[in-house]
């Protein structure tokens, strides 16, 4: 029986000819990642062992993105602790305010992850890099600490679910709608312990930003990772960016998939996840006034997302009573949006533009919700209390849908504003 893309990458990093689902392996890591919330726990664990030195200082990324710019004294102390560790260990890829961006937008952009890599990150959305044809998965701080110590991690080789894509997306329907639709189909534990392997002729029509968004939310279906095949778009994205030689793996023709889910992209509609689970997807709803809109995050803070939001907000006004918060994910995205005049469009429309931060997505800062408030958000989780008060409600949607909702003051799709 053949191997999936994920299995081939894991086999190569474990120094094995082949692996099968369920096998326990130890794999070499090309990059280990943590942020300002998970790194302090990892550093404490690292120091517990009595170790004085990380294994590979150029294969560790520490990104200060969650509660930064420091939201309070405790957050400031956590960042300081991490910064001092990074200085002491001479960590090459330490990103502080001014250089940092939201980690899962930043690492691909900086060329720190690429095709064929095996990556762990102490952040559940580390699965984003599957868009580049890499195996990448979220772990906890202890695994991250062990990764810094040994540059290795043990894995159970996952069984796979194939997601076969056909057709092309209609206007105003994006990668976000694809992944929300998929989670709606299979549920928040539909891919538990498994890999989501995206295949089919529909892949080629999806932009890299769409693929990042889709892989980013693989975890929301419980998956260990999501992964796309490498094509010309992937190569073009990595060209001049990726600092190592890409290694391109392709699934065997007889790769084993536990099940296949087929999605015809051409019939998808703007999709929204209603409270309080990403699997509660809908494409129709009764009138639902909203008080806040967030456009950003590791899911949807890239330049395409900014362009889509600007397309809707250009020449329009954010509805009275709605706070619209736009957060470009990285400094480069911010600068590009500035050059293209997108930031001016946002400000003129009555939205605000924030420096890169995870901030409101996890109820950290920059837009916390009061009791009973509704927010349409391009982020990734709508759990109880995720963005603030436990009676607040989060509706997960694409940048088009979020921007349209900001303009109309109610949950709405892009077509409703034209």
């Amino acid at each position: 029986m053949g191997m999936t893309m994920t299995q081939k990458i894991l086999a190569a990093h474990a120094g094995l000819e082949s692996v099968t689902a369920g096998q326990l392996i130890e794999a070499e890591l090309d990059m280990v990642l943590a942020n300002d919330i998970t790194a302090p726990v990892a550093i404490k664990e690292f120091e517990k062992t009595g170790a004085t030195c990380v294994k590979c200082r150029d294969k560790i990324s520490l990104v200060m993105d969650h509660f930064t710019p420091n939201k309070d004294i405790k957050a400031a102390c956590q960042v300081k602790y991490t910064r001092e560790f990074a200085e002491k260990q001479q960590i090459e890829h330490f990103f502080d305010v001014g250089e940092m961006g939201i980690e899962h937008a930043l690492l691909p952009e900086k060329g720190l992850v690429g095709a064929g890599d095996c990556v762990i990150g102490a952040d559940s959305h580390t699965c984003t890099y599957g868009a580049l044809g890499a195996f990448s998965t979220g772990v906890g701080s202890t695994d991250m600490a062990a990764g810094m110590l040994t540059q290795k991690c043990w894995f159970k080789v996952p069984a796979a679910i194939e997601v076969r894509l056909t057709g092309e997306l209609p206007p105003f329907v994006t990668g976000k709608d694809v992944i929300l639709h998929l989670i709606g189909l299979i549920g928040v534990d539909g891919a538990l312990y498994r890999s989501l392997e995206f295949t089919g002729e529909g892949v080629k029509s999806l932009s890299m930003d769409d693929r990042f968004t889709i892989c980013n939310m693989a975890i929301e279906a419980g998956a260990k990772n999501g992964i796309f095949p490498v094509d010309d778009k992937t190569k073009e994205y990595m060209h001049g960016r990726f600092r190592r030689e890409p290694k391109i793996f392709t699934a065997d023709d007889d790769a084993e998939y536990e099940r296949t889910v087929s999605i015809d992209l051409s019939v998808l509609k703007p999709t929204v996840s209603f409270p309080h689970l990403p699997e509660n997807t809908r494409t129709e709803w009764a009138e639902l006034p909203v008080q806040q809109v967030v456009i950003g995050s590791c899911t949807n803070g890239r330049i395409s997302d900014m362009r889509q939001a600007a397309e809707i907000l250009n020449g329009r006004r954010v509805h009275k009573g709605v706070r619209c918060i736009v957060i470009p994910a990285t400094q480069d995205v911010y600068l590009q949006a500035m050059k293209e005049g997108l930031l001016e469009i946002f400000v003129k429309a009555g939205a605000i533009v924030s420096t890169p931060t995870c901030g409101p997505c996890l109820g950290g800062h920059m837009g916390i919700l009061a009791d009973g408030e509704r927010c349409v958000s391009t982020t990734n989780r709508n759990f109880v209390g995720r963005m603030g008060h436990i009676t607040s409600e989060i509706y997960l949607a694409s940048p088009y849908t979020a921007a349209a909702s900001a303009v109309l003051g109610k949950l709405a799709t892009a077509k409703e504003v034209f």
């Binding site: 559940s124 701080s141 202890t142 534990d189 759990f383």
Partner: protein, 160 residues
Amino acid sequence: MVKGTVHKYGNDVDTDVIIPARYLNTSSPEELAAHCMEDLDRDFVSRVRTGDVIVAGDNFGCGSSREHAPIAIKASGVSLVIANTFARIFYRNAINIGLPILECPEAVSNISAGDVVSCELSTGVIVNETTGKRFQAQPFPEFIRNIIAAGGLLNSLAKK
């Protein structure tokens, strides 16, 4: 052997309700424990006693990779979490920080809130002391039990 009173929850208990992100500006186990389960069960912290057991449905610990979640549960005094299934990152994290967890759907459907439950981790035998019913969960292999007994993965590595 662990033994304690059961706190029971449903499916898809996520790490945001186990420990809300607003408290992640610290990694102190005691401070985290003071807010454990706060957005799901406000009285948990005042009710929980050392040794208590959490029993839940499918996909326990889904969402964020924050290790603060199992740390908060362990520091609150909970000795064991039994669920139908665990989200995969939580599963790794619990073992890595030394919080015992077991998957046992049969036990979950036959244990109620307030029951007293005991478990022998080396055999995976769970006993509902209130009803007298016994259940068999797949026990962890010895190397995993050693990690848990050492108080976590890196403690066990440090000992080697």
